[in-house]
């Protein structure tokens, strides 16, 4: 009788204790991190060899397809606007009163001297669509248990052939990401900190991007305020808004 009870209990509790698959983890992270739309105010601090500079901006985005950013500070960058619609990107510069489309290889240039390229910002394909993910281990980062996901490219036209992502096992947010070259050489590293609960979801509000081949402290991206699922007027995502 005792044995039957133990077996029954084990069968009932096993599925709940079973580790989720890598794809399931990514999907849970996506659910947590993505929203129908969002409005965020952020500051980007670029640590260079001659000092640091901070750029403040407000971004309106719908999914990963549409995004509009206007730079608020410093005075030199104020009024610069950036609009991304699917795979197209335009930048308006108030000093020249011109709108230029960033395309082709210009996308590989750094955004305002940061460790991020326009292309990094443009990446909107789902990780599960372009990478084969496997759960490769567990680690503790800053006292939080994480799963380590290893992602290998399954399509040819990706900037990074493989990635490693550390996902918080409880909150389903990434805490660290490493991007690798085809040869296996580590190229970029991102750490996600200051995870806060915003509108019922866990969200990292500070991200530190670092090109590991370069000296320096990288680029810190801090979200100062974020609102999900807001009513964003459609005209925000039109080219006309750039010169307004």
């Amino acid at each position: 009788m005792k044995n039957i009870l133990i077996t029954t209990l084990s069968l009932l509790t096993l599925p709940a204790l079973a580790q989720p698959t890598a794809t399931e983890i990514i999907n849970r992270v996506d659910q947590n991190m993505s929203s129908e739309n969002r409005i965020a105010e952020s500051s980007m601090t670029i640590h260079g060899r001659r000092g640091s500079r901070t750029i403040e901006s407000r971004t309106y985005s719908v999914g990963t397809e549409k995004s509009y950013t206007e730079y608020l500070a410093p005075a030199r960058e104020q009024g610069t606007k950036m609009l991304k619609l699917d795979d197209q990107l335009w930048i308006y510069s108030p000093s020249t009163d011109r709108t230029i489309q960033i395309s082709g290889h210009m996308l590989r240039q750094s955004v305002m001297g940061s460790d991020l390229s326009y292309e990094d910002m443009m990446e909107d394909r789902k990780l599960t669509d372009v990478y084969t993910a496997t759960l490769s281990g567990e680690e503790t980062i800053e006292g939080r248990n994480t799963w380590i996901l290893s992602l290998e490219a399954k399509v040819d036209d990706l900037a990074y052939h493989s990635r490693k992502i550390w996902i918080d096992t409880e909150r389903y947010v990434p805490l660290k990401e490493e991007l690798f070259a085809k040869s296996g050489q580590l190229l970029k590293q991102t750490t996600f900190t200051d995870v806060k609960q915003v509108e019922g979801r866990w969200f990292p509000t500070t991200m530190l991007y670092k090109d590991v081949l370069k000296q320096g402290e990288g680029t810190e991206f801090k979200i100062t305020s974020i609102e999900f699922d807001q009513d964003i007027p459609e005209h925000i995502f039109s080219k006309a808004v750039l010169r307004r």
Binding site: A181, L187, L213, K214
Partner: protein, 391 residues
Amino acid sequence: MILAIKLAFRNLMGAGLRTWLNVLVLSFSYVVIIWLNGIMKGWDYQAKNDMTHYEIGGGQYWHGLYDPYDPFTLSESHAPIPTEFKNEIENGEMMPLLIAQGSIFPEGRMLPISIKGIPKDQTILKIPTQKLDTLTDAIPAVIGSMMANSSRLEEGERVTIRWRDANGTFDAAEIVIAGIFSSNVPGAEANQVYVSLKQLQEMMLLPGHATILTFADEKAQRSEVDGWVLKPKSELTRQVDEMIKTKSYGQTILYGILLLLAMLAIFDTQILSIFRRQKEIGTYVALGYTRKEVVMLFTVEGTMHAILAALLATAYGMPFLLWQAKVGWTMPVDTSQFGMAIAPTLYPIYTIGLVATTVAIITITTAIVSYMPSRKIAKMNPTEALRGKLQ
């Protein structure tokens, strides 16, 4: 005429220091003009020679989309090597070159570079590509001295190189500097890393592709090939021609000032001669000289400054010019940042044409300047002149 020359010579010698001062100033013009023109000719020769040996060979075929001034087009500007060039490449008369964009990270600094894939066994350019055969676990690479200076890389040092293959995927590896060459040609050195062609084709996933085809023989008749643009040597060295032309215009101003100073001195001397030697002029006319002959006598006298200056310039200028041709002129600034094929030391080249033209220009100018004030003699009243009355 001979009498005029004899008389003119005697008069000039009689004038003593005044003559020699004029002659000295004029001789200085000779030497400076010949030297500066020689430097320009030397630069022209050196630049084109170095470009031929390190960058352009006897001319090139460029891929239709290749634009050296637009690095963004680089990833598109490559194609399989045309089959019609197969024989020439096998015979070593043509050399394919693949160019890709990348970055190196010496001491953690990111340095955007062009990665050039060059055949290890090529003999068209003097780049030491045989060093790309070095056996090592890293990719052997050769760089120019300008690149070595800007990146502070030395032979044997290792550095990380990052590039994107034809699909746009990042890749990175370590290169080892197997050799450093010095060419004075920024087009072959600045921000460039040479690796073996095969290696780069593998790195870029572009087997059999090239961006530039450099040929050895500049005289051979060549035609356009579909998708490739023929760039004869004259077109590839046009930048040097234009730069030298621009510099020559600037130098012309200097020559002008030098000549102006010399001519002013001669003009003054002529005016003074005619003013002070009125009795002499009157005597010549009284003796049966026509006015034209007297004008001629004074013109020859003035022009003779140029001849004496040429002799003086030969005396002290020749050793100087020959010494310069031997040791050259080292520019006081760093020429590697000029963006032009220019050696730190320029060796002047003097041609007979250059010397003859300089002598002709100075002599003719002196003759004109000497003639102009002498025309006054034609208007003189010989009786008044004989009496030495001011006219």
